[in-house]
């Protein structure tokens, strides 16, 4: 399904999706991802940008074998809940890993990857994925 006219919709999120920038409450110090206008902990509206380290570990995972249309390219692909070392959990694709090798608590790090293409003259979406760290 090509929807190339949606370009502007995604510009708003480049910072968050390329660099994993979330929010930190100036009032109570709670960090969260993605950044929200209201602190989920104390309700304060004083929120500043917060750069996450990109390091985390796998809380749970699955292998998507019947993807939503538009995501067939990588099928089957692993999706995981990753707990960042600063606390918040993010939903993400895992990359550069054999699905059989994923385990509870596996250490992963954030990388920027192509997430989706919109047909031949459409836009390409990039964003974070997580992979086992390169040591």
């Amino acid at each position: 399904m090509g929807r190339p006219m949606q370009v502007s919709r995604y510009w708003r999120h480049f910072k968050e999706k390329y660099r994993l920038i979330g929010g930190k409450c100036k009032n109570c110090g709670h960090v969260h991802f993605p950044k929200r206008p209201i602190c989920p902990e104390c309700g304060s509206q004083e929120i500043e940008d917060f750069q996450f380290s990109g390091k985390g570990k796998v809380v749970s995972w699955t292998i998507v074998r019947n993807p939503p249309s538009g995501y067939e390219y990588y099928k089957p692909y692993p999706i995981a809940l990753v707990e960042l070392e600063e606390g918040p959990v993010v939903l993400t694709q895992l990359t550069d890993v054999d699905p059989e090798e994923i385990y509870f608590g596996m250490e992963v790090e954030m990388v920027t990857r192509k997430v989706r293409e919109f047909e031949e003259d459409g836009i390409i979406l990039y964003g974070y994925k997580f992979r086992p760290p390169i040591k």
């Binding site: 399904m1 999120h13 999706k17 969260h32 993605p34 989920p40 809380v59 749970s60 995972w61 699955t62 292998i63 998507v64 074998r65 019947n66 993807p67 939503p68 249309s69 538009g70 995501y71 067939e72 990588y74 692909y77 999706i79 995981a80 809940l81 918040p88 959990v89 993010v90 939903l91 993400t92 694709q93 509870f104 997430v115 989706r116 979406l125 964003g127």
Partner: protein, 385 residues
């Protein structure tokens, strides 16, 4: 406060209705319900539907269905709460009657899903997730539930076979329901041999894509006597609903449906009952894991023990916690926006003593309808009058 009651129910069989459109299904169910209630007009219509715009390019369902059902120039709107749209529409209808603004209200839940390619249907269902932070990453709805199922098995030591028991129970009960999509009993082996959709969820852990419509007629206890005998009247004794974070990753707990707990507590309080008074549960088993989490979150059983109820046979019709008495989402089928209304119709059958798979002496039943990955949940308590 006026006491709301249901005096009529109607439905279509759940299935792949290649020859029927959304409006045909909705009008058929609606007219059946009106006939059951002995009425030929209503004050307003609430339509439960999740994604008609995506599935069949049709919005404005209030006008469409009221118009084609010949209801005249009444107020009619669509109510959307993802897969809990049906449950939410019933509750909106009840609120309208309780408020005194409307005396006789029709609610119809409808979804026409089989006109879409499976991968498109998968995408439309994922619209109930957080588009920017979940669907963006290519997640399907099945996958989100699979994340919870894997964690549940690890946390409490269950196996895939254990959770398969929920599907087996649903199919056993669905086999008795002529309106169910699947009328054939299955075994644990059937579930285990089916292919993975999103590991560890297999095809038979999941409810099917389907078409269908169900309807109920709601009025006050006083008014009901004008239309039907007492035996046909079922009280809507309590209801509650609540939301949780739309994005699963933002939840504090992945194995507890906070919205279900809040909604259930509101419903119990309104009905003046406790969970122990409930004779049967129509919980939202879109996936086997959700049946387990639902039983725990509404307080029927403590955390981690939901799947144990299945292992002990307590979820069967003759068990202490009968669930999915007419097949649930798994076997009856899950036309998403209609499901909450199907649950209501089935609970009414049980309480009228008309169910093909009757829970003996059922007096109080609970329906629980989940939208999103537990992000929007309705709980409704129905009681025999």
């Amino acid at each position: 406060m006026r006491k709301p009651v249901i005096i009529g129910v109607g439905l279509t069989p759940v299935g792949e209705h290649w020859r029927l459109g959304l409006r045909d299904l909705a009008v058929e169910a609606l007219l059946n319900a009106m006939e059951d209630a002995g009425i030929d007009k209503v004050d307003s219509l609430y339509v439960g539907n999740m994604a008609s715009g995506s599935f069949v390019e049709q919005e404005n369902l209030g006008a469409l269905i009221a118009d084609w059902a010949g209801l005249g120039n009444i107020p009619a709107v669509k109510v959307e709460a993802a897969c809990a749209s049906g449950g939410a529409a019933v509750q909106e209808g009840v609120k309208a009657v309780m408020s005194g603004l409307e005396d006789v209200v029709a609610v119809v839940g409808v979804e026409k899903m089989t006109d879409a390619w499976p991968s498109d249907a998968t995408r439309y269902l994922a619209y109930a997730a957080d588009a920017e932070w979940e669907l963006f990453h290519g997640v399907s709805f099945v996958a989100l539930n699979a994340l919870a199922m894997r964690l549940y098995m690890k946390e409490y030591g269950y196996t895939e076979e254990d959770l398969a028991l929920f599907a087996v129970n649903a199919h056993t009960n669905g086999a008795k329901n002529s309106y169910a999509m699947f009328k054939k009993p299955i075994t644990v082996e059937t579930v285990m041999k089916s292919s993975y959709v999103a590991d560890p969820i297999k095809l038979f852990d999941a409810s099917p894509i389907a078409d269908g419509a169900a309807a109920v007629i709601i009025t006050t206890e006083e008014k009901a006597k004008e239309f039907v005998d007492k035996a046909k009247i079922v009280e809507v004794a309590g209801m509650g609903r609540a939301i949780d974070t739309i994005n699963l990753a933002n939840r504090r707990e992945f194995l507890f449906l906070k919205a279900a707990k809040v909604a259930a507590e509101r419903a119990y309080k309104m009905a003046g009952i406790s969970v122990g008074d409930i004779d049967f549960f129509e919980v939202h088993d879109a996936f086997t894991i959700m049946a387990a989490l639902s039983l725990e979150s509404i307080g029927a059983v403590e955390r981690g023990k939901g799947a144990m109820l299945a292992k002990e046979g307590q979820i069967a019709i003759d068990g202490d916690y009968p669930i999915q008495t007419l097949g649930g989402l798994k076997a009856r089928g899950h036309p998403v926006g209609a499901t909450g209304v199907y649950q209501t119709v089935e609970a009414v059958w049980q309480l009228r003593g008309e169910a093909p798979n009757q829970v003996p002496n059922a007096e109080i039943g609970l329906t629980q309808n989940i939208g999103g990955t537990g992000s929007n949940i309705t709980v409704t308590i129905l009681r025999r009058v």
